[in-house]
Symmetry: D2
Amino acid sequence: MNTFGKNLTLTTFGESHGPAMGGIIDGFPAGYKINFERLLAEVAKRRPGQSVLVTARKETDTPEFLSGISPDGITLGTPIGFIVRNADHHSSDYDEMAKAYRPSHADYTYIARYGLRDHRGGGRQSARETVNWVVAGALALQWLESKGISIEAVLSQVGPITAGDLFDGLMTEPEKPFCLEVNPDLRLAMEEFVKETKKAGDSVGGKVSCLITGLPAGIGSPVADKLHSRLAAAMMSINAAKGFEYGMGFRASSAMGSKVNDPFLPSSAPGEPLKTATNFSGGIQGGISNGMPVFFSVAFKPTPTLMIPQDTVDTQGNHITLNPAGRHDPCVAVRAVPVVKAMAALVVADFLV
Amino acid sequence: MNTFGKNLTLTTFGESHGPAMGGIIDGFPAGYKINFERLLAEVAKRRPGQSVLVTARKETDTPEFLSGISPDGITLGTPIGFIVRNADHHSSDYDEMAKAYRPSHADYTYIARYGLRDHRGGGRQSARETVNWVVAGALALQWLESKGISIEAVLSQVGPITAGDLFDGLMTEPEKPFCLEVNPDLRLAMEEFVKETKKAGDSVGGKVSCLITGLPAGIGSPVADKLHSRLAAAMMSINAAKGFEYGMGFRASSAMGSKVNDPFLPSSAPGEPLKTATNFSGGIQGGISNGMPVFFSVAFKPTPTLMIPQDTVDTQGNHITLNPAGRHDPCVAVRAVPVVKAMAALVVADFLV
Amino acid sequence: MNTFGKNLTLTTFGESHGPAMGGIIDGFPAGYKINFERLLAEVAKRRPGQSVLVTARKETDTPEFLSGISPDGITLGTPIGFIVRNADHHSSDYDEMAKAYRPSHADYTYIARYGLRDHRGGGRQSARETVNWVVAGALALQWLESKGISIEAVLSQVGPITAGDLFDGLMTEPEKPFCLEVNPDLRLAMEEFVKETKKAGDSVGGKVSCLITGLPAGIGSPVADKLHSRLAAAMMSINAAKGFEYGMGFRASSAMGSKVNDPFLPSSAPGEPLKTATNFSGGIQGGISNGMPVFFSVAFKPTPTLMIPQDTVDTQGNHITLNPAGRHDPCVAVRAVPVVKAMAALVVADFLV
Amino acid sequence: MNTFGKNLTLTTFGESHGPAMGGIIDGFPAGYKINFERLLAEVAKRRPGQSVLVTARKETDTPEFLSGISPDGITLGTPIGFIVRNADHHSSDYDEMAKAYRPSHADYTYIARYGLRDHRGGGRQSARETVNWVVAGALALQWLESKGISIEAVLSQVGPITAGDLFDGLMTEPEKPFCLEVNPDLRLAMEEFVKETKKAGDSVGGKVSCLITGLPAGIGSPVADKLHSRLAAAMMSINAAKGFEYGMGFRASSAMGSKVNDPFLPSSAPGEPLKTATNFSGGIQGGISNGMPVFFSVAFKPTPTLMIPQDTVDTQGNHITLNPAGRHDPCVAVRAVPVVKAMAALVVADFLV
């Protein structure tokens, strides 16, 4: 229910307005040296309040590690327990919400599921939970890097401002040098759009694109644990995710086999891993990695919290006008970038440990 | 590895060219009367060789139930074991393939994963496995119907022939009568396109759209078992799936919150389940159903088997030209329709048992 | 619910009076050559009707393997599905039982759990289920042997006839040659006692002792998956099991630490696995094997079916006298011997795959 | 690996000499009011340093709850995260041990399993871990009580001082009033024996007996999740446990069926739960509770730490004499009493949630 993974598991807890978030990472390999500075830098990327792009809530978000790592930073093979204290509560901001079902929020469904709810910030459904994932993912990312595997993610669309399909080149000419990045002008345009949206009290959707390189062939299982099935499940666990596609994705629906099959290239030397001339498959065939780059995209909806009045109902089902209060993240996709990366790292590491 | 689900589980086995496929359904409620005639009709829908649209392989695909159901068709609450015998093997068709890595097939990844492979039809990676899912799903569908929940799926795109977004009306005007169907002319055009594709020895991608109605609010979990995360994982387990989206899906990336939030409507009577004025959410908020229709789409790539020669390499990494042999399903999305339905049923039933 | 194991899993189905028993073994290593002759010999050991000691029901119990093994007997790494057909039903023997709750049987508890019951032979609670375990265990035993690990089990007590603590020597002088066997006179006395018991229409308890040798140090986990915890769970899953002890077992309660600590012996050569001077620990310390022989015993109650009339109640709660009918196994411990061995093999293999 | 349970799960972390122990309880029912005073009293029972009977280490062991419980003590249905800070480290006490493999300790097996070890107090193998279990168990105990289920445990043997089989009366005359307690003289004798043992620098084994009353019929599963199998696994997870038996336990091996079958008594009124005239079954038949009291015993070995020099080897395999240091618990069974109770509560609650 609150556990991700099979061999490398992450079990989490925490309400956004409770004392702390936290988790237990079980199955992390013994004997690996953690670089805490880099870990904190990774965690900082999802922290709100860093730029105009995101909510103003200030939190230091420094995880406290309570087990599983020796005083000199070596993993012990035992479960890694950590907590991240919550701070900066303005619960009174949420008083009005206690009586309302906010549109497209999980207030109503949460009541339907549990019979009661902690209205202060969404309980377990708050995106605050993702701090746990990013902490755990940052550990996984470091360990994967030590195996030559790297994972990158970028914001590839914000409302009307889109970078198009960043992976076009990777699909048609995978042997060409490739760098997952968005043109600076576009990035600026995205930032501007988010600013305008915030000013208007509105919110906007977005898309995050993710690339995994260095993954050897043979990762994944052919039936119930396909690599892309696990990636999809992880990505669709992120708050506000509405869609997932890998390789050629939805364009596959209109494609002809003769155009998008990926022929294997003759091997450069006996025993060398094979490569394919194209990579429409997105590095996965039959649920198992084939050694080519793996890439996918995730669509996010606009955050449902708006700074403009909205019609909805109270908990008795009567019409009310919901007046805005609390923090406001105009584009949840911005903060989802490190979360996508972290979850991808947890999935991949789960297969490798 | 070969088990789906948590409370209602399906564990499967079977190589497409071995003696039989089969599975064990554990956790199915006791005391439910099975309608075998309807079950066989459902299984028949995925059977190849029924129309020009699909492969010519002839199989009766009648499951033999070995436990868990009394002689008079009542479920016992004990695990339901079943097998489906394989037939019509032309293993010699596959002789050439034993030496080749077929483009975009899982031959190479399978070797990378297991070190050996049963080349006769793809081993566990054959779509033959889906017969197990459809048998189990057909049981789940019947049980869900007895709870007032129904699941439908249609082929909504074949290559360039597309029904557009079938769910448009459901999103903007969910109170209007809705029927998940594709216009007969379009259906005919899809059939024609598949025929032409087959004639050309080529293959084509497609899309399947699925609608779940009657699902009460409160199904799903807020963190690791979001309803849409489980649906995504199940759909991405289907052979050739490349993308999944629910509700407004990838269109969310370009949407503004003020346009796509779903306001709750005042309740018709105290205690009545709430409805929303629009349904861009696709019936799920925060991972939990809200009582509105749930809908999603799945993109499928063209089947990688072509009836035209293809460049690839042999198992030594040397270039070869692969000549076509074996059966040919020009559009795997056609047969995926009952599979999507079955997997959706298993996911939903897993949350309800 | 019907799945054993974590990495090497066995999921089973089957009612004793349904068409077949069966199971799926998932996670069995690829590339291992199965010796079917030896497998059948192992399965035959639990078959009823072989000697005076056990029930007269005749079954051939030949498993049919449906997947996961190539035609030439090589495991494929894919799930191994198998079935064992049931035969020789005398359901009418059980007619009277449909109306009665048999003393110390699971009739009443089964109704309490499921609300309905298949009275013909106990449904899932019949010891017939153990045929599935023995088939799977026989595969695991062969694979373990290829790793130098062997598992033996013997009947060490039948009612008053007891072999004492067979492991005394292994505990105090583990370096001495040891053979797990019961003196032939004692064995004969056990057989005689079972015969007499059967003649009297009564039943008798017993004990099975099991020895695992060749297990390297390092198998098991320190907290939730202790090796002996998993062994205990597996043994207590066997029908009629009432107790489990390993190493010095219940004698530990009265022991002094200074007498039963196991000192490590100086190693014979650098890097050589260590040995202990005594083995009161039973080869496991802190839940993890230490390289010394692992041994344990399992207590079984007399089978509750008697061939003498018994007082009990009918399903309405009224007093009735239950007249004997059906088959009669006077000592369930006799047939438990290969089951103990099989379950031990599955537990150990689960840790090693 | 560090998770107990299936529906109500406890995942734990913590090294005895790290900053904190802790855990996450997932699946605890929503809306239940916690009595923290009683919870702390239960946790205090396992705390060392309370009496002459146990180790002198002083710890307050006050759990800090970080989530899952509202400020006014109501459970939220979300995961309950908690930590218990460690204190009172005398790591230097353990310096010598860093070089030694202590007899019957898990030092050597831990190295064999993980390749490295935190020698300061045993890492994950320290009984300190059980504080996590007692915290979680105390929550489960309260919830079970609200359902009319109570669990008690007593120390029933210390070395030669034994209370005999406390459950004799419950087996033969279950309708008579019963109280699980040890005669005060015997208790005093046990305390005296522990004192003497401690003075001698030795250690001693013991036995804990546990009684569960108020459990309704129908709890447990017939095959892989038998109630007593789950209890056995939980009990054998407790440090130093060597044996488990329930109902008539090992006495079953010598029993005749005609003497130990439990006849059902005619029901007092239609629909009333049935009772049995005797209770040799220990309240469980076929793995499922039958509504009679459930009882079992667990054997514990003497703690392997002695305050007298012992022969063993260093990590190079050379003979050394190990001189005593650190704390000394002469009888681990004493502190196991609340742990047995807690683990029983977690197992039972796991079936009921």
